[in-house]
Amino acid sequence: MKIRMHKALVATVGLLILAVSACTDTVVEPKSTITGANVFNDAGSYKAFIARVYAGLAVSGQQGAAGQPDIQGIDEGFSQYLRLLWEAETLPTDEAVIGWGDVGLPEMNTQLWASSNSFVVAMYYRIFFQVAMANEFLRETTDAKLADRGVTGALASQIQEYRAEARFLRAFSYWNAIDLFGGVPLVTEEDELGSTPPEQATRQQLYDFVVAELTEIQNQLPDPGPSAYGRATGPAASMLLAKLYMNAEVYTGSPNWSGALTAVDQVINSGSHSLASDYRLNFMADNHTSPELIFVVPQDGLRTQTWGGMTFLVHASCGGSMSNADYGIDGCWWGLRLKPQAYGLFGAGDGRDDYFYTDGQNVEVAAIGNWNDGIAAPKFTNKTSTGQSGSHATHVDTDFPIFRLGDAYLMYAEAVLRGGGGSRSQALAYVNDLRERAFGDASGNITDAELTLDFILDERGRELLWEGHRRTDLIRYGLFTGGSYIWAWKGGVQAGKATEDFRDLYPLPASELVANPNLTQNPGY
C-alpha cells in the first residue's frame, strides 16, 4: 500500500529530555540531606554513630518511644532488642509465663513455636540490624576514610576505641545468634552493602569469629568508670568470652572450662567491680549506682524511651491487686508471673524473694491467661533505693544488667566444679558471699559438700531470676528439652511434658528462608 504524505497522515516524534539532570543519571549528590559523604564533616558524628550502635539494645528506633522504627513489618514495641532477648531466654523455661494472647506469644511459654513465630522472626532481624549498624560504623571509620577526612590526633585515637566497642557489640549480637539460632550468615564490614544474600556460616565458624574478635579488642576497650557506664569495657569483653567458653560444648561440641575459668577470673580480679551491699539495688531505678554491674542496657524515662526494654519488664510484672504506684509506674500490664518451679527454688530466710507478691496469687498456673495464676515477681522497679519514683511514670529509669559480678561468681564456681581448674575453696567463698548477702548473715551458707553442679543451677535460678540467663543455663545442663526436667506448661500442658531436643535451637524465620536461598533450616523445623 502506498501512503501519501498529506494532511490525513500526521506523525509526531517527540524526544523529551527533561531539564533535570537526574533524568539521565540517578546519581545526584544531595546537598541538604545528611549522607555518609557529608555527615562526618561534623566530628561529633562518630560519637553519635557509636552511641546509635549501643542504642540498638535500648530503643526501637530514632523517635522515642516509637515512630521511626529500625526494622519494618513488625510492631515497633515488640521489636525492641532487649524485650525480644529477654522473652526468648525466659518464657520457655521454668521461670515465667506471660499471659497475653498476641499471636505467637503463647507458644513462647511452652516451647511450641513455629518457624513463622513473630517473636522468633523479630529477634533474628534485630540481631542482624545490630550487626549491620556495627559493620557500617567500621566501614565509615577505616584508616583510609579517616585519612581522607583529615581526622588525626585525639579524635583519631578516640575513634579507635569506638571501633573496638562496635566490634564488641557485633560480637555480643553474634553470641545471641549462636545461642538462639545456631548457624546464621557471618556478615562483617568486608561485605559490601547491597542485596546479595550471604552464605550461612556454621555455629563453629561464628564461635571462632566471636572468640577471636573479643580476644583482639579486649585491651582496646575503655576502662570501667563513670565515663564508660553503659559502654563495653575490658571486663565486659572478658565476661562475654567467659559466656562463650562456658557454653563451648553446646556451641561447638568441645568444652573449654579452663578458658571459662581464666576469663571469668579476669573479670573478678579486674578490681573494677564489687558486689552491691544490697541485692535489690541492682534492679532499681538508680541501679547505675551499683558497683556490681559490668555491662548494662541503660534506660531513662525522659531521654531513652521505648515500649520494649525495661518499660515492658516493669509494667508487665505488675497486675492484680498490686499498686502500680508502689513500683513508680502509672499502670500495670498484667503479664508476667512465675512458673511454680521457679517459685519453689526459694527457701525460708532467703531475702532474694522479698519482693514477690503473693496476695491473691496462686502458686500453680492453671491458666496462663489468668493473672492470678502464678506468683508475681516485680524484681525490676522504677523506684530508687531511697524510695523515689523514676523520672517518668511510663518509661522507666531502671537499667538492665546484662552482666553483673554475682553472675561471674557463680560462673567461677561452676567452671571449677566442671574441671576448669581454679580453687574449690575460692568457689565456695564466692557462693557464700552471695548467700550472705541474700540471707543477711551466715545462716544460709553452704558447706563444701553441698557445693554441687545441681546446687549451682538452683542458685543461678535464685540469684539471676528473670535476668535472661535461664534458657542458656538449662541447655548447658541438658535440661531445657527432653524429659529429665519437667516444669509447668513445658510442651503445652499444665503438668508439663517432655519436648523434642531440636527445640534447643530456635528455627530460622520461614520468611528468611524465602529471602535467602542459601540458608538451611535448623533440624526438626
Partner: protein, 400 residues
C-alpha cells in the same frame, strides 16, 4: 532519555473513503514511548542519616547523646522504565451522535522499583527499596459516547467504557535476593505477617495463602484431622507438594487484587423540566483479603487482656486461633456501585431561573464481598473498620 513517537492516519479523509459509509470520522493511530517512574523518594542510592529525637538518645558514659542512623540503600538503583505500545481507533458515527475509541496496549516495565524484604545481613534494615524485576501489562480499552435520544421532550446521552488489563510479573532480578518469591503486603494482627507475593508468572501482589480444607458445606475445616491432640496448620491446610508436612512451601499464589475488567457508565437525561444523571461503576474479578475477619474472627480474641468485638465469620469458621494465611479470607470482591445519582427539577421563581435537586453519593453497592466495602483497602487488603458513608444532598439553586 525518554523518547516517544506517534503516528496517526485519518482514513475518513482518504479519497477512497466514500461518503456512503456510516462513519463521519475514522482514525487509526499507533504510538510508542518510553517513560520512567518517579514515585519513590529521592536519594535511594545513598544511605541517609536520621538523627534521633530527644526521647531516643543513648546514655554514653556520663552523657546522653543524640544518635544518627544510616538508612538502607541500594547504590546500584536504576530508573524504572516502561516501554509501551498502543494501537487504537477513534471513530465517530451518524454525524457524531455515536463516537468512541478502541485501544490495545502492551507495557513492558523493567527494573521495577519496589520496597521489599531483603535477606538479613545484606543491608542496613530488613526492607530495601530496589529494582526487583520486570513486569508485563497488556490490555484493551473501549469507550462509547452517544446522544441516544434527542427528541424535544426527552434527551438521553450516555457514555460507556470498559477496560481489561492483564498483569504478570515476568522475572525477578537475581540481584534482588536471588529469591524467586518476594513477600509483600503486611496485614494487621501478628507481627510481620505478609500475605502477598511477587513471583514470576503470577500477577503482581497475588495473595500468598494456604488452601484451606473445606467441609461438605463449604465452610473451612477446624478440627484435629490428624489426631495429634492439637489443631494447627497440619490439620487445616492442603499439603500442595505432598511431602507430608504443611509448611511455607505449601503456600501458593491465589488470585490478585487487580480487577480483570473495569466497567463504567454515565447517563444524563432530561424530560421536560426534570433532569436525571447517574454514574455506575463495576469491577469484575478483583479479590480482597478480608483482614478484619482474619484478625478478629477468632475465639482467642476474647481471651486477650483488652478484647475487641469478634468478627461474625467466627460463627462459620469456629477458629480458636487466628488463621491469617488461610485462603478462606481471600474473597471475590467484584461489585457494581451507583457512585452517584442526581435528580433535579428546573422552574422559574419570580422570573428567576431556579432548580431544586437531590443527590445521593454511594447510593448502593451490589457485591458478594462479606466485608463492609470491596474498595475499602489498599492493594486488596481490607483492614478498614469504618464503612464508606452514603451522602444525601438536597439543594435549591436560584440565579439572580
Amino acid at each position: 532519555m525518554f523518547p516517544a513517537a506517534s503516528i496517526a492516519w485519518r482514513i475518513s479523509e482518504e479519497s477512497f473513503f466514500g461518503d456512503n459509509t456510516p462513519f463521519s470520522d475514522l482514525k487509526l493511530r499507533a504510538s510508542w514511548g518510553k517513560t520512567g517512574n518517579q514515585s519513590f523518594d529521592n536519594y535511594q542510592q545513598y544511605s541517609t542519616y536520621l538523627v534521633s529525637n530527644d526521647q531516643a538518645r543513648a546514655l554514653f558514659g556520663d552523657e546522653y547523646v543524640s544518635t544518627i542512623r544510616p538508612s538502607a540503600s541500594d547504590p546500584g538503583i536504576k530508573w524504572e522504565e516502561t516501554r509501551s505500545w498502543d494501537v487504537g481507533i477513534d471513530y465517530s458515527l451518524l454525524d457524531g451522535r455515536l463516537s468512541g475509541a478502541i485501544d490495545y496496549y502492551v507495557k513492558d516495565t523493567k527494573d521495577l522499583i519496589f520496597t521489599v524484604p531483603v535477606a538479613a545481613g545484606t543491608n542496613l534494615s530488613n526492607f530495601l527499596t530496589t529494582n526487583i524485576g520486570s513486569m508485563k501489562n497488556n490490555g484493551l480499552e473501549l469507550s462509547l459516547f452517544g446522544d441516544l435520544v434527542t427528541s424535544d421532550g426527552l434527551t438521553w446521552s450516555a457514555s460507556f467504557n470498559a477496560s481489561r488489563n492483564t498483569n504478570e510479573l515476568v522475572s525477578i532480578n537475581p540481584f534482588a535476593g536471588s529469591a524467586q518469591q518476594i513477600l509483600v503486603g503486611g496485614v494487621a494482627g501478628g507481627v510481620g505477617t505478609l500475605i502477598q507475593v511477587l513471583e514470576p508468572g503470577s500477577p503482581i501482589n497475588s495473595f500468598f495463602v494456604y488452601e484451606h480444607k473445606r467441609n461438605a458445606d463449604g465452610s473451612p475445616v477446624w478440627a484435629d484431622t490428624n489426631g495429634d491432640g492439637t489443631i494447627n496448620e497440619q490439620d487445616l491446610y492442603v499439603d500442595q507438594d505432598g511431602d507430608g508436612v504443611v509448611n511455607v512451601a505449601d503456600r501458593r499464589a491465589f488470585e490478585d487484587p487487580a480487577p480483570k475488567w473495569i466497567l463504567g457508565h454515565t447517563s444524563n437525561m432530561t424530560y421536560g423540566a426534570f433532569d436525571l444523571n447517574f454514574t455506575l461503576r463495576a469491577y469484575m474479578g478483583n479479590y480482597v483479603y478480608n483482614n478484619v475477619a482474619s484478625n478478629l474472627g477468632t475465639y482467642s480474641e476474647v481471651t486477650r487482656a483488652s478484647p475487641y468485638n469478634l468478627h461474625a465469620s467466627v460463627l462459620e469458621t469456629g477458629f480458636e486461633t487466628p488463621q491469617y494465611l488461610s485462603d478462606y479470607y481471600v474473597e471475590d470482591a467484584s461489585f457494581l456501585r451507583m457512585d452517584n445519582i442526581t435528580l433535579g427539577y428546573s422552574f422559574e421563581y419570580r422570573g428567576r431561573p431556579a432548580r431544586i435537586f437531590g443527590t445521593i453519593q454511594s447510593a448502593f453497592t451490589l457485591t458478594g464481598y462479606s466485608g463492609v466495602d470491596p474498595t475499602a483497602g489498599l492493594n486488596g487488603l481490607d483492614n478498614n473498620l469504618y464503612p464508606r458513608s452514603r451522602t444525601f444532598t438536597g439543594g435549591l439553586n436560584i440565579r439572580f
